[in-house]
Amino acid sequence: MTKSQLIEALAKAEGITLKAAETAVNVAFNSMEQALIRGDRLEIRGFGSFKVKDYDGYKGRNPKTGELIEVKSKKLPFFKVGKELKERVNGAEVKSTK
């Protein structure tokens, strides 16, 4: 599913215009983006939470050439799946077989 398909599905489910659904989807994801850019946490109950993680730089190698390269420190948004979504993608069968 792409963003435009999500907009269509939202318009249909809520009986609102495509334009209105587009605004809703954009407001939601833009505010999520802005929060992460500011370095804030973000939490949507039942869906998941995001936070920006800091990764240290390290010396690595290009696996193809073996050449030594410097990997700079970076920040990346990290997504932790919420309990409800985690269970839903697994259907009813949330077993931990021993």
Partner: protein
Amino acid sequence: MATLTKARIVEKLFAKNMFTKSDCARIVDTLFDLVKKSLESGEDVLISGFGKFCVREKHQRRGRNPQTGEPMVLGSRKVVTFKCSGILRDAVNEEAG
């Protein structure tokens, strides 16, 4: 550190003066529910400029309870992963200067 919640997103949508407060709350709920439904059906969700939510199949594997060290079998299951879009990744790193 501040936390963005669904309530805040609802407020922002309400500020657009397009829907009532209760409609805003319902629309935002439906929005995330549609994303969840797609992932539940095994279909990835791609939000350009934000990132991609993927459903990945995990095979059964042997693991250990890290607390007791007791060996156990972890069943095959599906997990949701998130791959940040390049645009968002660059924006997040730019802020750091």
